[in-house]
Each structure stands twice: as C-alpha cells, then as structure tokens.
C-alpha cells in the first residue's frame, strides 16, 4: 500500500472489480484510501490514459480502504472509461469539492436523484443510516432496465425506517413519470427537514422550485464542465461560484442567487449557452 498525502497528484489505481449496474452503467471498484474517505458529494478527477480526464462522483465500496466510480456510457470519454476491464489501470486525483452536510437535527431527510446523480446519494444514505432513524429516497430512471442502486439503497438503509420510491419515464417499473412527479405527491402528504438532490440540472431546478414552495431547505450537487477540479480555470463557473471548489453542493440561499442555475452553462471554450427546455 502506498500512502498518498497530496490529493492533487494523479494516483494510479487498478480496477479490481467491475459491477454491471444496468446495460449502460458500470461501477469500478479500486483500492484508494483517500477516495474511500471521501465525503458525500465529493468527486474525483479520473484519468483515462491518453483519452480524457473526467469528473466522477465518489461511489461507495464495502471493501476496506476501497472506493468506486459509477460510469454512465455517454460520449467518447465516458465510453472509453466504460470499456475498461478488470485489472486495467486508471488515474485518480481528489477527492475534491465540498459535500452534503448532515446533522442529527435533520430527522426526516429526503433524497432525490436521477441517473448517476444517485452516486453521491448512496454515500449520503450510508451516513444517514448511522445517525438517523428514517430516510426517504426518490430515484428516477428512463425504464426498468436502467433503474440504478435500488437494491443497494435497500441494503444500506435496511436498519432504519426507509421508503424508496422509483419512477420510470415509460412506467415499466415503479411510478410512471419523472422524480418530480413523485416528489410533488409525497410533499403533499409528508413532512421533511431537508432535501438532498443530485442529477440533471433541469430536474434539480424543478426540485428546487418545489422546495421553495414547501419551505424545505435543500442541498443540491451541481455539475459543470470541469477541466482542473482545483479552482484555477473557471470552466466550471456558475455566476461567481466555482462548482469544483465552492460546490459541488449549494444550499437554497446560494441557489436563490444563481441566475444561471438551470439557465446558462459554459462549454469547453468557456462560451455560455442556454439550457433548452424540452
């Protein structure tokens, strides 16, 4: 075992285990002390040698000193990563960013995530299971085959009172619709102290709006184009905030001041574009 002290230097890790979560999502488990100690919401920069470097949330692993990443196959970079095999090497640096804050006072936490946005929520759920007595999770997917981490969430939260609601857009599993449909419904019936969310930004905007309507504090983990991960390039900026350094997690107070939240993002060159609602 090598003891690393500088989180910014790339550490080579071996993919010890590949878990096929859904047809388009895999989890890679590796030995890395620094990542295993990551807080929920923190991310790693993953070096895919000679291909790309991508930000990825730190996934939990049940092996000691191990951590994982969960990759959705998407464009060139993520697909190259997705195709790595057991025993292949990748580079990691981090963990970076701030994190979801939990406390004993948040007795009724509500976690809402979509797709790989569920990754930080699994680490959060692990912590919640240790200090709270109940937890509600709403998880969204397009279709049954793509439902992510449902069994894992049940396992993590098996010792406390847990409600897991799954939505699929095609209705092939759970509730038909998107997570906000389930959210609207449950907010009418139940009380929560805090909403934790991660997923597509437009989804989080809707969740944020609902949180405001119902006066529930919220913490949302944002994603932006990230090049450096260490707060020097501004490619990840949203208004005057650096998502990699000031975030990724922002609270309702911060979100309320972000005119670009759900509206404007910047591409590789730094050019701002508008989110298209569809």
């Amino acid at each position: 075992m090598v003891l690393h002290t500088n989180i910014d230097k790339i550490r080579m890790v071996v993919i010890e285990e590949v878990i096929e979560e859904t047809p388009s999502v895999k989890t890679f488990v590796f030995d890395d002390m620094l990542s295993s100690n990551a807080k929920p919401g923190q991310f790693l920069m993953i070096w895919i040698p000679r291909v790309e470097e991508l930000p990825m949330s730190v996934m939990i692993s049940n092996k000691k000193n191990h951590a994982a990443i969960t990759i959705r196959k998407h464009g060139f970079g993520s697909t190259s990563l997705f195709e790595k095999k057991q025993n292949d090497q990748i580079g990691v640096r981090g963990p970076y960013g701030n994190y979801f804050s939990i406390s004993k006072d948040v007795k009724r936490p509500l976690l809402v995530g979509g797709g790989t946005g569920l990754v930080p929520l699994m680490r959060l759920a692990t912590l919640i299971s240790k200090i709270q007595e109940r937890c509600t999770i709403i998880m969204g997917a397009q279709t049954q085959k793509e439902v992510l981490f449902k069994d894992l969430a049940e396992e993590i939260l098996s010792k406390i009172r847990t409600k897991i609601i799954v939505t699929t857009e095609d209705g092939s599993y759970g509730i038909k619709g998107v997570v906000t449909d389930a959210l609207k419904y449950i907010l009418k019936k139940e009380q929560f102290d805090m909403i934790y969310t991660c997923g597509p930004e437009l989804m989080m905007v809707s969740i944020y709006n609902l949180s405001v309507t119902h006066s529930i504090p919220i913490q949302a983990s944002l994603e932006r184009y990230m090049k450096c991960g260490i707060g020097i390039c501004a490619s990840c900026c949203i208004n005057d905030k650096l998502v990699c350094k000031d975030g990724t997690v922002f609270n309702d107070n911060q979100l309320s001041k972000m005119s670009e939240f759900g509206k404007v993002f910047r591409d590789k060159s730094g050019r701002p574009s508008n989110y298209s609602f569809n």
Binding site: I10, R50, E52, K227, C228, G231, C237, G270
Partner: protein, 320 residues
C-alpha cells in the same frame, strides 16, 4: 529601506501610513490600488468571477488569453499537479473567442486588462477593434505560450514579427500595451530591448516553460497534448532572474510572474525590479484568500522597513 530584526508576521501593524497608499502603484500610466494582478489563464473568462476576484483584493485582473475565434483547447488532462506547488498545463488556449468575450465584459466596472493571442499579425487589429471601446485598462499580449503551435511562443521567438505586432497594435490603440515573454529560443534580454524599442508600455515576465510529465506506470505522457508549460514554485528563481535582468536592461516597467505563493516571493520579485506582480498557480494551492494574505505580508514588511510606499523598493537589488 531599514535593515532590522523581527519577522514582519510578528510585528504589530502600526498604521502610520494608510496601507492603501503604501501599496498603490502606477503601471504604464495606469493607477492601481495595489500591485497584485491575476495572471492570465487563471479563472479568466467570466465577468462575475472578475468582480469576485477584485473584491477578494486584487489590484487588477488579466483575462484569459483571447483569440479571434473561440478555441475548445485540448482534451483532458489539461492541468497536472506535480505536487510540491508545481503544475504542468496544456489547456490549448481554450477561450470563448473575441466576440463572446467582448460581450461578457460589456459592462465591466473593475480594473481589467485583456490578454490577447493571435496566430498571425492580422489577428491583432481584429482583436483590438473588438475591445478598444470597452471599459478596460489595456492589453497584455501573450507572445509566450509554450505549447500551442503557431501561437504564443512561436511568435515570441521571431523578433521581427514581435516588432511588427507591437507596432500594429500601438497604432490602433491609445491604451497601454504589455508584452508577456517567456523562456523560448530567443535571448530574453534581446527580446526585451526590441519590445521597448517597438513602443510597448510594459513587459510581463515570465510565462510557463515548456515541460513534460510521463506516467511511470503506463509509460504515457499525462497531458493530452503531451508537452505543456511548467508553472508554480519551480519557476520562481528563473522568473526572478528574468525580471532582474530585464529591468536592468530596459526602462519600461516589468511585471513579475512565476511561482509567487507568499509575500516573500512577491517582495523578492519587487526587489528584483518588478513594478507589479501576477498571481496564478498559488490559487490552486492556497485559494483566493492568498491575495489578502500576500498584501498583508507586504504591508507589514514595508512598515518594518520604514518604507512609505512599495515603489521605494522596486529594483533595490540592482544596487548590489
């Protein structure tokens, strides 16, 4: 300058002089509240971030180097930490292009210097025409990016082209023009003389130095561009030398850049002859609080040395 004992960090600040006055400088006709500038390429694309950086204590902001058209830059990794306060980068001059950036800074209210970069002489008039009517202090011309073909250093290494570019720019703007140089294949002192003779208003030294890191496990270069530029602490003694030698050679002011992480580093550059300094990699290490920390250190140092203004110590090392 008084030579005495105790460390400035332990001295109580005797507010004999207002520290704001102590730190203010004049740089090529521009008055700045303090000599700390943002180095180009750091956080340099968003007006809201500029405003924040100015609130965090900088004297002026230098934007990311802007080209006529947008550039996506290289694939990742574009920035690699070497540990020990050193970084390698090959961002590939990613920037939103002059149109979008001019729009971005349309309502700018803070002291902003636009860094521009071109691949041919004809790019520069286009760039000036985009920015010259905006509320900006002036330009820094990046003739020293060591890792983008046909831009930056390949220009800086051609003294004739440097002269032509400076004259072209100077004929099109009344604003101060700062030329940023680096360690390339041309004698930096010869270049500095040419820059002064061509009419530029100041020189920034230095840009990153062409460098490389290879991953031992895979045998592969880490930067996607393979070769990039070295920044941070490793650069400091080289940058100090360049500032010292250039400021002895030319009369126009020199802005020091390269590995400034602490107030001592800043003072070292000023003693070497820097009128102002630029901060870059320190942001990755210390964050934005670095600006005020460095300013506080400089202020205490000046008070301890019984100096009324930082101007008094610019180039003091020349006399030995």
């Amino acid at each position: 300058m008084k030579n005495n004992a105790s460390s400035p960090t332990t001295t109580n600040i005797k507010s004999i002089y207002k520290s704001s006055n102590m730190l203010s400088i004049d740089l090529a006709g521009i008055h700045l509240r303090n000599p700390l500038l943002l180095a180009s390429g750091f956080l340099g694309i968003s007006q809201e971030i500029f405003n924040r950086l100015y609130n965090d204590g900088l004297g002026a902001i230098v934007s990311k180097s802007i080209s006529v058209s947008p550039l996506d830059g290289y694939k990742g990794p574009t920035v690699v930490s070497l540990g020990d306060k050193g970084y390698l980068n090959a961002v590939g001059l990613a920037n939103p292009g002059s149109d979008v950036f001019a729009h971005e800074i349309m309502n700018n209210q803070i002291p902003l210097i636009v860094s521009i970069v071109g691949s041919s002489q004809s790019d520069f008039p286009k760039l000036i025409s985009k920015f010259d009517k905006l509320n900006i202090l002036g330009y820094e011309i990046n003739l020293s990016c060591p890792h983008v073909a046909k831009m930056g250093m390949e220009v800086g290494d051609d003294p004739d082209l440097v002269t032509k570019i400076i004259k072209t720019i100077k004929s099109r703007t009344k604003k101060p023009v700062i030329i940023k140089v680096g360690i390339g294949n041309t004698d930096i002192l010869k270049l500095a003389t040419i820059i002064q003779e061509s009419g530029a208003d100041a020189i920034t030294a230095i840009n990153t130095i062409r460098a490389m890191i290879i991953n031992v496990e895979t045998g592969m270069p880490i930067l996607s561009n393979k070769v990039g530029g070295l920044s941070g602490i490793p650069l400091k003694p080289i940058g100090v030398r360049c500032v010292y030698e250039i400021s002895k050679k030319v009369d126009i002011p020199v802005i020091g850049c390269g590995g400034i992480f602490t107030w001592e580093d800043a003072i070292e550059y000023v003693l070497a002859g820097a009128t102002a300094i630029e901060l870059g990699s320190v942001i990755g290490y210390t964050g934005l609080k670095a600006f005020n920390q460095i300013k506080l250190g400089i202020t205490k140092y000046l008070q301890k040395k019984d100096c009324k203004s930082i101007k008094e110590i610019v180039g003091l090392a020349h006399k030995y």
